[in-house]
């Protein structure tokens, strides 16, 4: 059983691509081998900045011989038929057998395909792998046509067994395979001949190359934490940076350097970001003060002066970088303290989106909306508006221009330095949140108001210009924004009627002259479908709308207002879809959510979820589960009867026509349940309402057990159907139970 070793040696592979490339190499080669009949015991792939390596152990020495038997024509068949059979099998007349069968003498061909030696298969598979490698971006070099991530220099490809090691012959556009590689670019550049994977990795290590990225990362982290610890400090963890740095070196050497005293007063996030983004340094913190005081850099070599020159160089570069950062910080603070409106004005010249205007336009909309939402989330309207107006001011600051990832955080520092209210400053940082399903949701009311306004503005804006997410494409992160709204509303327990907010915002957006095309498309659709929901545009809404958009052309106003409810409906469904995904993760079934979405008030997400949770709990009980069966039975019988009779049984069940005890008991039970459910539902107190509903289970079951609905006495029959109608009406007042599955 030979072992295979492959190394593709190139110029420096981008760090972010290495680990994926190693996996791809393993997958493509091993799949190719197995497809060709070469199975193996185990395989592993590795990457360094200059090489991708694959080791495959316990490979078959050749693919197995295959034997195929084909039945042909009878031995006395016409010559033409026999010739055709021979051609198909690729054999001559004397290579086939004649066998006696119950139907007489028949020709048989036995086609044996001899196995193919491993080397031949490997060469073919490896060449195809190289030519079709899925690099995120690849290039040509020199005069060649071959593509690789950076110029490919050599291919090591050997098969090793007890007898020794052989090169697998291979030539890809002039690069021929061999049994040699090179060590570290600077520390051990000589050629190395290898005979097996063990030999290869041992010799590489002697030639200052650690093959395994995980081993390099461990070594870096170990040395970094030890070095910091020795000075009473700790390294700030950053798994992404660690992986990247491990992809930049073959021979990691950890060095700890100093940050100039001038810079230690910069905000720690600024130090950390500048060092990470520009220099790929780890930050080193003083655990007593929380301040960042040193840095760790990872060099790619040992030197005679133990890294002194390298460290001095890195300190110097950092100092130049931090001088810039300090310059930005001080300039920004000066602006923040004197007049931040310079920044907000500058945003008038920054386009947010061609059709949705400038950042300043957007801020105006968010400020108005934050003010409107403030009372709902318990924030002071003036403060919410102020916070919204300042929350994005830092986009004009020099620091955020340099480090976009510090947006919001810098705003908080600058707004605080301007002596504004802490809640206003906090909103600058928090209004972008939550950024994902696991990100913290702000709880401060002012932050919640601005965060909601920000996301609702984004959603209604892109909905107005018909830029909705499709499939895997969501370039404006609208799913994330919708989930953000959902989490903000739910976690603050806010009862926000989304629909009126969406309609107003969408009408504003659609009235914007820049979205003419979309507006017209909506109008056309509405005219065609004639389901405009125009009734929704009540007079008071019309008046309110004129107030917020006084300059709008009358025709455009009318069209925008007509189109808005339709767009809002569509956007609300999008919220509901996101909500289903969110609640599914919390163990609430989609049909339960559907049953609740079908109810009035479904744009109040807090209410919707409260209802869904209560229903979910009820359905988890035996009574709840059986009640559903009872309800469905009642509903089915009733629906069939209504269809057959062409009438609706909805009124007038009278206990005086009841004939059985069970029937009378059901009347009593319905009266009792109704007395509990109606006030509970009015108070949106779903749990007691649903418990009361569940108590109907026993009387309904008993009723069906004892009573035949269809009797000859039409009065009794009608009365019973009307009784079923009471069950239906009462249950449907809680949730649309027809949507429940099972």
């Amino acid at each position: 059983m030979p072992d295979l070793l492959i190394e593709l040696f190139s110029e420096e592979i981008p760090a972010r691509m290495q680990s994926r490339a190693a996996q791809d190499l393993q997958k493509l080669v091993t799949n190719g081998l197995v497809e060709a009949g070469l199975t193996y015991a185990s395989a592993a792939a590795f990457s360094t900045p200059r090489r991708l390596t694959l080791t495959v152990e316990g490979l078959l020495a050749s693919s197995p011989t295959t034997r195929e038997e084909r039945k042909g024509p009878k031995a006395d068949a016409p010559e033409k038929a026999i010739e055709g059979f021979l051609r198909g099998a690729g054999l001559s007349r004397d290579q086939i057998e004649t066998r006696e069968t119950p139907k007489g003498a028949v020709l048989f061909a036995v086609i044996e395909k001899p196995g193919c030696p491993a080397a031949e298969i490997i060469a073919e598979v490896l060449e195809s792998t190289i030519r079709n490698f899925p690099w995120p971006k690849s290039m040509r070099w020199g005069s060649g046509a071959l593509k690789w991530v950076r110029p490919l220099h050599s291919i090591l490809c050997i098969l090793t067994d007890e007898a020794g090691c052989d090169v697998v012959p291979l030539d890809v556009d002039g690069i021929t395979s061999g049994a040699t590689t090179q060590g570290h670019r600077f520390m051990a550049p000589a050629q190395i001949s290898v005979t097996s994977f063990e030999d290869y990795s041992a010799k590489l290590k002697r030639a200052n190359v650690v093959l395994d990225a995980a081993e390099r990362a461990d070594a870096i982290w170990h040395a970094a934490t030890n070095t910091a610890f020795a000075s009473g400090l700790e390294v700030v963890e950053d798994a992404g940076l660690l992986a990247e740095v491990a992809g930049l070196v073959e021979w990691p050497v950890v060095l700890m350097g100093r940050i100039g005293d001038d810079f230690l007063d910069l905000p720690p996030e600024v130090l950390q970001t500048s060092m990470k983004e520009h220099q790929k340094f780890f930050s080193v913190r003083n655990p007593k003060t929380g301040r960042i005081e040193r840095f760790i850099t990872v060099a790619n070599r040992e030197t005679a002066d133990n890294g002194a020159t390298i460290l001095a160089g890195n300190e110097k570069v950092l100092s130049a970088r931090l001088s810039d950062a300090k310059f930005f910080w001080e300039n920004d603070l000066r602006v923040a303290k004197s007049d931040m409106s310079v920044w907000t004005q500058a945003l008038e010249n920054v386009t947010f989106h061609n059709e949705l205007g400038s950042q300043a336009d957007r801020i105006n909309r968010i400020a108005a909306l934050a003010r409107e939402l403030a009372p709902v989330v318990g924030a002071d309207p003036d403060m919410a508006e102020e916070a919204a107006r300042l929350a994005k001011a830092d986009l004009s600051s020099e620091m955020v221009y340099e480090f976009p990832e510090l947006q919001g955080l810098m705003g908080r520092y600058y707004i605080e330095s301007a002596g504004r209210n802490a809640a206003v400053a906090a909103a600058a940082q928090e209004h972008y949140s939550p950024l994902g399903p696991s990100d913290d949701v702000p709880t401060a009311p002012v932050s919640v108001a601005v965060a909601l306004a920000d996301k609702l503005d984004t959603l209604t804006g892109f909905w107005a210009i018909n830029e909705k997410p499709t499939g895997s494409k969501d370039p404006f992160a609208l799913r994330r924004a919708a989930l953000g709204v959902i989490r903000l509303v739910l976690e603050s327990g806010t009862n926000l009627r989304l629909n009126s907010v969406l309609v107003t915002q969408l009408a504003l957006m659609l009235g914007n002259s820049q979205v003419e095309v979309t507006r017209e498309a909506y109008m056309k659709y509405i005219r065609q479908a004639d389901d405009a929901g125009l009734d929704f545009v009540a007079d008071d809404f019309w008046k309110a709308f004129l107030e917020v958009a006084p300059d709008m052309d009358q025709d455009i106003q009318e069209e925008a207002i007509a189109a808005a409810p339709h767009a809002a409906n569509n956007l609300l469904s999008f919220f509901h879809d996101r909500l289903k995904v969110y609640l599914k993760d919390q163990g609430i079934r989609h049909d339960i959510i559907d049953a609740c979405i079908a109810m009035e008030g479904n744009d109040d997400l807090t209410l919707l979820v409260k209802r869904a949770k209560a229903l979910s709990e009820t359905l988890a009980t035996d009574d709840g589960q059986n009640l559903i069966q009872g309800f469905k039975r009642a509903n089915n019988i009733l629906t069939q009867a209504e269809e057959a009779d062409g009438v609706e049984y909805s009124y007038g069940a009278d206990p005086k026509f009841a004939e059985t005890d069970e029937e009378r008991a059901l009347f009593t039970a319905l009266d009792a349940a109704e007395a509990q459910i109606t006030p509970a539902m009015a108070a949106q107190d779903f749990t007691p309402a649903m418990s009361a509903m569940a108590t109907l289970r026993a009387p309904i079951d008993a009723f069906f057990e004892a009573t035949q609905i269809n009797t000859d006495n039409q009065t009794v029959r009608r009365n019973r159907l009307n009784l079923l109608s009471r069950i239906r009406t009462l249950c449907l007042s809680v949730a649309d139970l027809t949507k429940i599955e099972g």
Partner: protein, 313 residues
């Protein structure tokens, strides 16, 4: 270490060493292009010569202007006028990385003491319609060069591929010479009777240009010049290939490209004056790119661009 040349002492010493190093590796040592450009890449010896099939090897210093980077000579690292050293070899030789590292040794970087790294950096020039893959080269954490394999220029795929090296001369020299402020850097040998620093030569001009670039340049004139250059470029390229006077086939790719360079510089000046909005910016870049593409289209129809008389047949 002993066989390394003596450490350079001045800015010009570093330039001279690069010149003689690349001359020794077979490059034609060209002179700077006589027009205002934003980077060495704009020199026709790079932009145009990276197109077509003809082999090419050239190196040169290119004074470069980035009006927005002006800091009145006060910032230790930023200048509106600075020098780039540019090497372009087509087809890119297989040992280009080693050749490059050799050039660092030639200017006094001791490979045994420093940490040299090739860090991913994809290069793209929206104004030239060009892109390539390569790295920024780091020396002890400092970016000292850009290293690019050109894949496309002026909308044309590069066959063969050129290898381009760009050294930011001031930054690299400051590092080698151990200088913290660019204006303090010795320009000539500090031991000579008349030693001159970078500041002696450029402090005043940095101030003058910063003021002009940011506050005085007449934007109406600049805008007119942009439009004129654009129109002239298109007019040049619209001419018949055969010159009616001489009867020769003369495609004026270079004069047209000069106008493209001019338009690009006018755009940079307008940008520095802050009169170009974010949305307009893209449109201007697109207009310069359109010119660059037309110039590239024209150049590949010239002899230097690989056109052969039999192609016409």
């Amino acid at each position: 270490m002993s066989n390394l040349p003596e450490t350079p002492r001045s800015f010009q010493d570093i330039i001279l060493r690069l010149q003689s190093y690349w001359a020794s590796k077979g490059c034609a040592i060209l002179q700077p292009y006589d027009m205002e450009v934003g980077a060495g890449t704009f020199h026709p010896a790079t932009t145009l010569r990276s197109l077509g099939t003809q082999a090419w090897a050239a190196a040169y210093v290119q004074p470069s202007r980035r009006p927005t980077d002006g800091r009145y000579g006060e910032n230790p690292n930023r200048l509106q006028h600075y020098y780039q050293y540019q090497v372009l070899i087509k087809p890119s030789p297989p040992d280009l990385q080693e050749l490059y590292l050799g050039s660092l040794e030639a200017i006094g970087v001791d490979m045994a003491l420093h940490d040299i790294r090739f860090v991913e950096d994809d290069w793209e020039s929206p104004t030239l319609g060009a892109w390539g893959l390569g790295w920024e080269v780091w020396c002890d954490g400092m970016e000292v060069s850009q290293f690019t394999y050109f894949q496309q220029v002026g909308g044309h795929d590069c066959h063969p591929v050129s290898g381009e090296l760009t050294y930011g001369l001031e930054r690299l020299a400051m590092y080698i010479l151990g200088v913290d402020h660019v204006m303090d850097m010795p320009f000539n040998n500090p031991q000579t009777p008349i030693p001159l620093t970078y500041g002696d030569i450029f402090k005043q001009t940095e101030e003058e240009y910063a003021r002009w670039n940011f506050d005085v340049a007449n934007t109406d004139v600049l805008l007119d010049q942009f439009k004129e250059a654009e129109a002239e470029c298109e007019k040049i390229l619209a001419q018949e290939h055969v010159d009616p006077k001489t009867g020769k086939r003369i495609i004026m790719a270079h004069p047209a490209y000069d106008q493209c360079i001019k338009a690009s510089h006018m755009f940079n000046l307008l940008d520095a004056r802050g009169v170009i909005s974010v949305t307009e910016r893209q449109a201007y870049i697109g207009r310069v790119r359109a010119l660059a593409k037309q110039c590239a289209d024209a150049f590949v129809q010239t002899r230097a661009g690989g056109w052969q008389p039999e192609d016409a047949a």
